[in-house]
Symmetry: C2
Subunit: 260 residues, 2 copies
């Protein structure tokens, strides 16, 4: 943040608009001071004075940061603009926008899942407590019976994606966790909007269930390589089945999370 009443010092490399410059300056200021989520930024009035700019300009700057999920503002006494930790939903939505004009195929997504999911499984082997194992088993129980209609089949498929999301949540690796949940969501967007799901198939259901139970067993017993291998086989199988339904990922902007 520049000293009071100067609008110089706003490093303007390439014809950036004033709100953009101000947003950058605020971001730098937050970094330099090591501000944490919940910390309050100067009030709008303060910013107007310090940057010597009009209210609208300052507001646009704050909007930029807000759109990126970096700050949050509240009205009223004790209100103001606050540093905010970017939520996972927001980050996923923003990254999803990147792929809006870059059609991803089922193959593209599964190539990444096939690489990441086995590592996740391996990293969790022997590290889950009873509560976590129970939560996983509860999700698996949701498809204890083979689907009889396409709607049930679709619901089970989405449940199995939830299984992977839940597993990811148990990882201590924030990057791996985010990527696995992101890819699973991209995939579930495809199946929902394109109504892309397999017709009821008892044999498929049986093999899927088989993978899940073998995975849970390996996780419980701490069999790292076993968990990895089971998950890898599971992914290859799922990929093969989905490839049959090959379709382009729907073009759709992911909604931002409304409020935290």
């Amino acid at each position: 943040m520049p000293p009071a009443t100067t609008r110089s010092e706003l490093r303007n490399g390439g014809r950036r608009s004033r709100p953009q410059q101000v947003a950058e300056a605020i971001k730098d200021w937050v970094m330099e001071r090591g501000l944490q989520p919940g910390d309050r930024l100067p009030s709008e009035a303060d910013l107007i004075e310090r940057f010597a700019m009009a209210k609208g300009t300052i507001r646009e700057a704050v909007r930029i940061l807000e759109a990126q999920g970096l700050v949050k503002s509240r009205t009223g006494p004790g209100g103001g603009v606050f540093v905010h930790q970017v939520s996972e939903d927001r980050a996923a939505a923003l990254l999803g926008n990147y792929f809006y004009f870059r059609q991803l195929s089922i193959d593209d997504i599964y190539t990444v899942r096939e690489a990441l999911e086995p590592e996740l499984a391996a990293s969790l082997a022997g590290r889950l407590d009873a509560g976590q194992m129970a939560a996983l088993e509860a999700v698996v129980a949701r498809y204890a019976e083979p689907a009889r209609t396409p709607e049930e089949e679709r619901a089970q498929h989405l449940d199995s994606l939830r299984f992977h999301a839940l597993l990811a949540e148990m990882s201590g690796n924030a990057l791996l966790r985010f990527l696995i949940r992101f890819t699973a969501n991209m995939l579930s967007d495809v199946t929902v909007s394109r109504q892309l799901y397999a017709p009821p198939n008892p044999e498929l259901w049986k093999s899927g269930r088989d993978y899940q139970s073998r995975l849970l067993a390996a996780l419980r017993s701490g069999d790292r390589d076993g968990a990895r291998a089971v998950m890898a086989a599971h992914m290859r199988n799922a990929h093969r089945l989905m490839r049959a339904q090959e379709a382009a990922v729907t073009r759709r902007f992911l909604p931002e999370d409304g409020m935290i």
Copy 2:
């Protein structure tokens, strides 16, 4: 986009500010019409009229979309607000914000790289033309000589990250491409900010070079499994070396007075 002069129809789930609602409405409008990059949105004046809102409100809405990389505005005649394809840099920056308060360790990043990079190598085996192979060889040539100073070592390390980024660029899988480049960039951010790089080590240099040349050979000959295996070994080796460096650095910075 709502019909002219109505501000109803703005689906407001949970207390979103008007600019946010307008931004969402514009986004929906772009989706519904299937607008493409370069297509022009209604002028600011049009938007003011159609949404029946003040200039400032509309401008904040446009800023939100601009901050997300979805639109771009130009002044002057023929100017206006245009649909824009989110750039890779922008997407990477926005995703990077997500990890600002979620410190990633070297281990976290390498776990993902170890999973993804071998798949990239496998997918490219036998699919690169002469020009692409030449480009890769040119980058490798940049560290033809072992580094003699820590600065040279660091420069070579960054060059090798560029090698991976270049390789990623050749993938037809937009998701894999993005993720590999993103992880490589995160890694170089971490190593730079923590000044985390190995001291000159001819043996390390030799093994790194060995991996690269074996990888290029496998890529040229179309040896899919060979490329995957070489890259996997390369990643494991790099991970091991970086982990040692990280441990060394943190040890060096251990406080002498009991502070964290």
